[in-house]
Amino acid sequence: MKCHNRIDLRPSRRAVLSGAATAGAALLAAPFIARAQAAEIPIGVLLPFTGSQGAYGPDMRKAAEITTKLINDAGGILGGRSFKLFFEDDESSPTAGLAATKKLLEIHKCQAVIGIWGSPIAMAIKNVLIQANTCMMVSGAANAITDGDTKGLVWRYQAKATDWGPGMAKAMLSRGWKRVSILAQQNPFVIPMIEPAKKVFEAAGGQVVDSVVYNPDQPSYRAEVQRIFGASNPPEAVMCLGLLTDFVSIVREVVRNGYKSKVMALSIAADAEGKFIQAVGPDVAEGIEHFQPSPPLGSPTYARFQKLMGADENALFLFAGNTHDQVCTLALAMEKTKSTDSPVFTKAIREVCNPPGEVVGDVVEALKKVRAGSKIAFAGAGSDCDFDERGDQLNRHFGHFRIEKGKQVLVQVIKGPEGTL
């Protein structure tokens, strides 16, 4: 005795299963059809395109692409080999970032993985890359990324999180703001800034009135804004440590309530490659100040980079410049060592970046000089590109800006901690 509907199901079930299997197989087989040429050097670029950090990926992608084109058009490296970039979306999720990294390593045989914006993603894939002896260039700020034995493979193109806080505090003190409050998003690269910033304020005789940490993705931030800005004796200024979406909500709330405290934010929120002004309009943005590890403003490399990106001289690229530098230093170090092997070429990164040597910003020219055997100190579009022995950047510039009439006006440049080179 058999159940009838069970028999009826069989052919269609098989069809569904085999259909799914074929689709899966086709998808898995696809890369081999479109396989890269042997002479090309595959480089993985892991960036956020979706999820909560999705807004930050596209500019970095563009920077990586134009820089690569620059190098390849000039004849590439190692006697005519060119870079081939493979982009992957980390979906703002460490798990997805890990799977993507494996794909970059195993399917595309990438010689280095660069980009890597979010700190949690960097943390999740760090071990994999170290184990695979592959160079990793990150834009994330969390100190822990360069902790531990990295075999010299992990390089940070960003200031450490603990360096941001004191810099920002100094910038605020220089504006004469001594009574301040802190409003921060619960976020791995923001949280480590708070304590060092407080110390700097206290050392300078200032006072941190109140500090509130809020969660990302809340329907409203009214209660937090009310508590910080609407305090009975409001602070002179508020250090707003958040990202774009929440900062937009916060500023609207502040402006609409007519709170008088000044706002000092991270450029990642208050500029965000122009998206902040686009979102709130110039009137609301007027007078907001922001601060962040900045590109070497006014340097020829940065000016050229702005042009390459199709932007005017006011454009502030906070992460795209770092991606540009990552591609450049990869090319220089590979050319220097004549090797695409990570453990070999990473040894030369400090050699081509740190002084002493002739300061060169144009990567094509720098490549020529390296080939000619001269000692150079590459200076990038994201920073001067000097590294300590842990792979952390030294001599970072921090830019302090004010938004005036919808434009970024540079207030001052603050130097980050100098290390022994």
Binding site: T50, E224, T245
Partner: protein, 287 residues
């Protein structure tokens, strides 16, 4: 300070009340909790954003177009998704609404990316009345929400459509016997849901920034409000929303603000333990 916080909570509650009414109407008539309510709210906000920022129409007109557009959208969604599943279990419909939520939210993401957007409406500074800061947008919010609630009340109580809706909600079999076309009622219900949700989307977009996660951030609270009021009861939904708004905001005076969202969860957990039918719900006897 406390008065200000209570006022803020009240306004937040007003924004939540509109989708909560929509949710409770759907539940009353179709007997399933519509998880897509958040994504519908997002869709409403983006529709208004298209009219306002891209086509440069005034915000009020944009909101009206968004309301019509979203009403049409949800009627189509019902036709394609929920109507084939009409006779299936609550949970099937609930999971299907999760699918709808995915589709709507990501259509917005596809078209506009992840960045925050805002309406082209100047931010007006707040007024001070009796020591309270009241801003223009709060007045707009309160007025819109009250108008929406009043409209729903009038429709449900004083129109043939409303009577038919209540009949279908109370006893679908009896309503069918009396010659009420259930599908027509369901269509009108979705129209009301669309209009209310679009209005809430515009208000939420004015209150903060518009991004693909806009509505999702409200989902738990909207559900909490509707459940608190007793699912299926529009007046209860309003009360639930106002209660939650005020409780969430005032809770920040005693607990860390980042735990604010937990408050609504505990509110429903405790209420459901004491009164499983919600604040205004009636006991449903299983026969």
């Amino acid at each position: 300070m406390i008065a200000q916080v209570v006022l803020n909570g009240f306004i937040t509650g007003m924004i939540i009340a509109l989708p909560a009414i929509a949710l409770t109407l759907t539940y009353g008539i179709l007997k399933f909790p519509n998880f897509a309510i958040g994504a519908m709210l997002t869709a409403g906000a983006y529709l208004a954003f298209i009219c306002n920022s891209i086509l440069q129409l005034p915000l009020l007109l944009s909101a009206a177009i968004a309301a019509v557009g979203l009403a049409a959208t949800v009627v189509i969604v019902d036709r394609l998704v929920f109507s084939p599943l009409r006779e299936r279990t609550t949970i099937t419909l609930l999971v299907a609404s999760m699918g709808v939520s995915f589709v709507l939210e990501n259509m917005a993401r596809f078209a506009f990316g992840n960045s925050a957007r805002s309406f082209e409406a100047p931010i007006v500074r707040s007024m001070h009345i009796m020591g309270l800061r009241i801003n223009f947008e709060q007045i707009v919010t309160a007025a819109t929400a009250l108008a929406g609630m009043l409209a729903v009340y009038v429709i449900l109580r004083h129109t043939p459509l409303g009577r038919a809706m209540r009949a279908v909600a109370d006893n679908p079999a009896l309503a069918a016997v009396r010659g009420i076309d259930r599908e027509r009622i369901v269509r009108w219900m979705w129209v009301i849901v669309g209009v209310l949700t679009a209005a809430a989307g515009v208000l939420a977009g004015l209150d903060r920034a518009i991004d693909p996660l806009l509505g999702w951030n409200y989902v738990v609270t909207v559900f909490a409000a509707a459940i608190l009021g007793g699912l299926g009861n529009p007046l209860g939904a309003v009360l639930g929303a106002l209660t939650l708004g005020v409780v969430e905001e005032t809770s920040t005076l005693v607990i860390p603000p980042n735990y604010r969202q937990v408050v609504s969860f505990f509110a429903i957990a405790i209420l459901l333990l004491l009164r499983p039918q919600g604040l205004l719900g009636t006991v449903r006897v299983k026969k």
